[in-house]
């Protein structure tokens, strides 16, 4: 268990706490601004999305894995549509889509960075 924990901590981007706090603060500020300016909501949401991806600096694998888990779960959830609401399912799919998008953008960034080296 300790080994797993160590592995997990090692896999986190460093310094994680600092990155996480900064991302959180920036994200919350922009979301608050988005509430005030509804016409800019999509744009600001995209900015928050980018801040999270590049601020946290996780490996794209993490996003792809989470996206795949979500995607595999979706057909089963859709079979249980009578138990969960349609809105909840569509939010779930949106989350899945975000994970894949995040994974792709981060992977693209890493690939370009690698190529420039």
């Amino acid at each position: 268990m300790t080994a797993v924990k160590d592995q997990l901590i090692r896999s986190l981007p460093q310094p994680f706490i600092k990155r996480f706090s900064l991302t959180l603060i920036l994200g919350v500020i922009i979301l608050l601004v988005a509430q005030k300016y509804p016409t800019l909501q999509d744009l600001l949401l995209f900015v928050v999305f980018l801040i999270i991806i590049f601020g946290l600096g996780f490996d794209p694998r993490l996003y792809f894995t989470l996206g795949l888990i979500g995607l595999i779960a979706t057909p089963f959830l859709s079979l249980l549509i009578s138990l969960i609401s349609v809105d909840a399912l569509s939010h779930f799919v949106v989350g899945t889509f975000f994970f894949f998008s995040a994974g792709l953008l981060k992977q693209l960034y890493d690939t370009i960075r690698l190529h420039r080296r």
Partner: protein
């Protein structure tokens, strides 16, 4: 599967099985928007490209003009092939073969696995979007994309100009099939170019970058040059991104969703016959598709190709979901702001990106499995099982195609027996005439340059929309009512005559061919037959077996070009019926009209006085307004009983001198008798004032300016489709058009509404209804008036707001028989569900209008004597160039041309005995008529005021006869065609240059074409071995 020919054979056989209906070249295939084209029509395509298309009442059709190369090819094939064979050679065979073979080659290039390429090609070819699609030209363009991509990638990789030119050539072919498809592909190719620069380009020196940029942009440049024959004139006309096709409202928001986009599932897919516009549940098995695709992406994420196609898939999903979450505003924003994006009024065309991306991603999964687990004993079997399972998902979609349960374009059609007789009639008629199809055209009706088809339902919504007062509301069949209203207008015969509509046809209910469109227009064919039977100018014809196809002949239809001498200017298209009756009965003249706003001063201006109350001042005991008209004026009065009351009446005065021109003392004339006529001269304007001290005018709307508060305390929800409305209602002091306060309605979700119930009205009485409105963040305001008469009459209208200023709406409304109360509702319509849409209203007026309408007409008549020439003949040189010979002209006249009004049409006077070059090339012609003489005749077609005395002042331009009359020749041209001709030269020169370069390249290799191709193939085989 080391040999590629085995999988190629397999996929070809699969395609032949699934599309077996398409194999027989003589089969007629037609469904929905994919019509049927007769051979005679194809033969007309052998001509130079033309910007002006004669379809309907004539227009510039961006899709048709960009398809010229394909149309020309079809025309050439028509010299020796039937219509069915042409369609098969140009559309069906290329589509079924290129789609699967192209995707196979592309996926094979990326994955290097034949088996994976087979699976990828099945994903690309047999997904629900491509199978359900009936826009086949779009699909052929998509089928060409894999080839374009392979060529482009190789051009960038090998840095070969020849390959970049080949990319441009194939891309041009795709654009010639469907330019909108090419536009998406161009975006994709350009993205790939940027991606290539970012992740493939190693040499970062300036020279290398310059070289690769030139190479990367060369195909785009070539496509632009090759298409310059139509791009150039459209750019000059500013109609490349703003035209009828690109000005439509965003459509289909409800159909598109994120889950459907992710699963590559078309919303109308049922597994058998598509359920058009009925959203189908998403079967769970379709979720396997994105799982497989994203698994492939996850496993191959470090492969740069795969990463690119992953991005393509994500962007495809983002666009295809249209306004679904997330980023709900993205698509509407792109639609409004991104140049050319308004060509995609619904997002289904972006399914292509998902299909393309998934085909590579899923194939990459199979290829990965082949490498990783094939070494195990069970590995190969497992890969085959997974590959076959995924392929089965897509092959299963083709089951209804094979069994013909799918219908659509996968079932042979047969031309109903009633149509050949009509086709024969039209083909053998040499004079130009149009055929009006009621309610709309049948696919089996022939259309040629000399006999265009006019669909009534389409024309009612476009060219003739101004003649319609009926506004759709709760009525189930708004189009049916609109068409009936149009045909009931007494002046409609004139409109049809001048548009050269010689035949009117009610098609048969074509149930056998899945084409019974009557269900969309009232589901009652007899309604339309009865409607046409009532028109005295239409004579039924006996055509075809059992007279099943109803064909009527209009014997008064006018030729394509005519000379006319009766035209009136009117201020609006409302109340034309009464003006028509007045002109016909009182003035005894033909009624043709043009709108005053067109600025033609040569025609008499006629005003139905008490229809012009927009700026009327309403006081309790008077109603006054001014009509700006001057010069020699004739006033026609047929006074009302209301005007006879003692001491009251209608005073008509010159605004400056205040001289009363018409006595307030009543002239005792019954309503139906002829009008009294007075002549006077007005220097500026005529003022009308109605007064009645005994019966004062009362505003029937209480608290009309909201100075005493709101009408209702709670906001109404007039579109409560779910439980999450975000609406508001309050008094605004920020802005008001009258007093200090106005009413403010707000809607973020649903439609906010408020109003007044049960206002007392008197049946068969006219009212002036006016109010002010302001769109703070809204694009439209709107009202809804409902009466309690037995048929529950409703009057409703949406009012566009272009700015944030206050605007005034006014209308004269008629309380129907049997009504005693009226209710008024006003709205604020929601938008993108996130923006608060604010609309303000103020200053409502509902005032009883005295019985004054249609009793006062004024006409300002210029002192012009018009007379048509003794003789007029014309010759059609091409759809955009006509020559007219006028003989025996003494007085000015109007020259009409039966094409939809477009300022691009010009008339020039030809010099007598001019050279051929003068007649062919309009740049050399001597006298161009000023644009002010060009007008919209009956608000429909082109007409010009031909001022003969002034035109023939220069004696060398006209031939003068001994009787004082003149003969001359006029040329009518669609001027923007000249830019098309210039663009055509550029296109041809580019094509020629590419051809010469290709030849030179082959010659440089010092080998014959055959040997060159052989060497290419050899290179391919070497590539395989590697």
């Amino acid at each position: 599967m080391k040999n590629r020919y085995v999988p190629l054979t397999v996929i070809t056989i699969i395609t032949c099985i699934t599309h077996w209906v398409w194999l027989k070249g003589s089969t007629i295939l037609s469904y929905s928007d994919w019509g049927y084209t007769y051979r005679q029509t194809y033969l007309e395509f052998i001509r130079p490209p033309t910007l002006w298309q004669t379809n309907g009442l004539g227009s510039i059709n961006i899709v048709d003009i960009s398809r010229y190369p394909i149309e020309l090819l079809s025309g050439i094939l028509a010299l020796s092939a039937s219509a069915e064979v042409i369609e098969h050679l140009v559309i069906f065979y290329p589509l079924m073969l290129l789609m699967i073979l192209g995707s196979f080659f592309m996926v094979y290039r990326i994955t290097k696995s034949p088996f994976a390429a087979v699976v990828g090609s099945l994903v690309y070819s047999f997904n629900t979007y491509f199978l359900i699609g009936v826009n086949l030209i779009l699909l052929v363009a998509y089928a060409l994309f894999p080839f374009i991509f392979i060529l482009y990638h190789q051009a960038l990789k090998e840095k070969r100009i020849g390959l970049a030119m080949a990319t441009g050539l194939v891309a041009w072919l795709a654009s010639a099939y469907e330019f909108r498809a090419f536009y998406i592909m161009a975006g994709l190719l350009f993205s790939y170019f940027l991606y290539f620069l970012a992740v493939y380009q190693k040499d970062k020196s300036n020279t290398a970058i310059k070289h690769i940029v030139i190479l990367g942009l060369l195909p785009f440049f070539l496509v632009a040059l090759l298409n310059s024959y139509w791009l150039l004139p459209l750019i000059k006309l500013h109609s490349l991104t703003t035209n009828d096709l690109f000005s439509r409202e965003l459509f289909g928001n409800a159909y598109m969703s994120l889950p459907r986009a992710m699963t590559l599932f078309h919303p109308f897919w049922t597994g058998h016959t598509p359920a058009n516009f009925v959203i189908q549940p998403l079967p769970w098995r379709f979720w396997i598709i994105p799982i497989a695709a994203f698994f492939g992406l996850w496993l191959n994420r470090k492969n740069r190709f795969i990463l690119f196609f992953g991005l393509v898939s994500i962007v495809g999903i983002l666009l295809t979901k249209q306004v679904d979450h997330p980023f709900v505003q993205l698509y509407p924003w792109l639609y409004d702001h991104w140049p050319g994006f308004n060509a995609y009024r619904e997002a289904s065309k972006f399914y292509f990106l998902i299909a393309l991306g998934y085909s590579v991603l899923i194939a990459s999964l199979i290829a990965w499995l082949e490498i990783v687990i094939s070494d195990y004993t069970w590995g190969k079997v497992a890969v085959v099982i997974i590959g076959v399972s995924i392929s089965t998902l897509f092959l299963w979609n083709t089951k209804p195609l094979i069994t013909q349960d799918f219908g659509t374009l996968f079932i042979p059609r047969h031309i109903p027996a009633s149509y050949p007789a009509l086709t024969h009639l039209l083909v053998n008629e040499k004079e130009f005439s149009r055929t009006l199809w009621v309610p709309r055209d049948s696919r089996w009706g022939i259309e040629t340059t000399y006999h265009p088809k006019v669909s009534l339902v389409d024309t009612v919504q476009t060219v003739w929309n101004g003649f319609i007062q009926f506004v759709p509301h709760d009525n189930n069949w708004p189009e049916q009512d609109q068409m009936a209203e149009l045909l009931h207008h007494p002046y409609m015969a004139n409109i049809l005559n001048i548009a050269s509509v010689k035949y009117v046809v009610v098609p048969v209910r074509d149930v056998a061919n899945d084409d019974d469109f009557f269900i969309h227009y009232g589901n009652n064919r007899d309604f339309y037959i009865n409607l046409l039977n009532q028109q005295p100018y239409l004579k039924p014809l006996d055509l075809g077996p059992n007279n099943e196809l109803k064909v009527y002949e209009n014997n008064t239809a006018q030729p394509y070009i005519t000379a006319q001498n009766h035209l009136y200017q009117v201020d609006s298209l409302e109340e034309l019926d009464t003006t028509y009756q007045f002109v016909k009965n009182q003035l005894g003249s033909e009624f043709n009209f043009t709108l005053t706003e067109n600025g033609d001063s040569s025609a008499p201006h006629i005003v139905n006085v008490f229809d012009q109350l927009k700026d009327a001042k309403i006081a309790p005991d008077s109603l006054s307004f001014t009509i700006k008209d001057s010069g020699d004026i004739r006033l026609f009065t047929n006074q009302t009983k209301a005007a006879l009351a003692k001491g009251n009446g209608v005073a008509i005065s010159d605004e400056i001198t205040n001289t009363i021109l018409s006595p307030t003392t009543a002239v005792s004339t019954p309503y139906a008798s002829p009008f009294n006529e007075e002549h006077f001269t007005s220097p500026h304007a005529v003022r009308f004032e109605w007064s009645d001290r005994l019966n004062p005018l009362v505003n029937l709307i209480p608290n009309p300016s909201f100075e005493s508060g709101l009408w209702q305390t709670q906001v109404g929800d007039c579109n409560n489709y779910d439980k999450n409305p975000i609406l508001g209602l309050n008094l605004s002091q920020a802005s008001a058009s009258d007093g200090q306060k106005s009413l403010q309605l707000e809607a973020t979700r649903h439609i906010a509404c408020t109003g007044i119930n049960r206002l007392s009205v008197t049946p068969n009485t006219d009212y002036i209804f006016r109010f002010d409105y302001q769109g703070v963040t809204s694009k439209e305001a709107g009202y809804y008036l409902s009466f309690d008469d037995p048929i529950h009459t409703v009057l409703t209208k949406r009012l566009p707001t272009q700015d944030t200023n206050w605007h005034n709406f006014h209308s004269i409304i008629h309380a129907p028989a049997g009504s005693s109360h009226m209710s008024l509702t006003i709205y604020s319509y929601d938008g993108d569900h996130t923006t608060n849409i604010i609309t303000r209203y103020d200053n409502f007026q509902l005032v009883t209008l005295p019985d004054l309408q249609d009793r006062y007409f004024i006409m300002s008549r210029p002192n012009q004597k018009l007379s048509p020439p003794n003789h007029l003949s014309f010759e059609t040189m091409s759809p955009y160039h006509k020559q007219t010979h006028i003989a025996g002209a003494t007085q000015p006249f109007y020259l009409t041309q039966s094409e939809r009004f477009n300022p691009g049409w010009k008339v020039t006077l030809l010099r007598p005995n001019s050279f051929l070059v003068d007649r062919i090339n309009p740049f050399f012609r001597s006298v161009k008529l000023p644009t002010t003489t060009h007008l919209a005749w009956d608000n429909t077609i082109n007409a010009w005021y031909i001022d003969v005395p002034s035109l023939c002042q220069n004696k060398s331009l006209c031939q003068h006869n001994s009787d004082g009359s003149a003969n001359f020749d006029l040329s009518i041209d669609f001027a923007p065609q000249h830019w098309l001709n210039v663009g055509s030269i550029v296109s041809l020169m580019t094509l020629f240059a590419m051809f010469v370069y290709g030849l030179r390249m082959i010659k440089k290799k010092q080998t014959s074409l055959a040997r060159w191709i052989k060497s290419l193939l050899k290179k391919e085989l070497e590539h395989d071995r590697r």
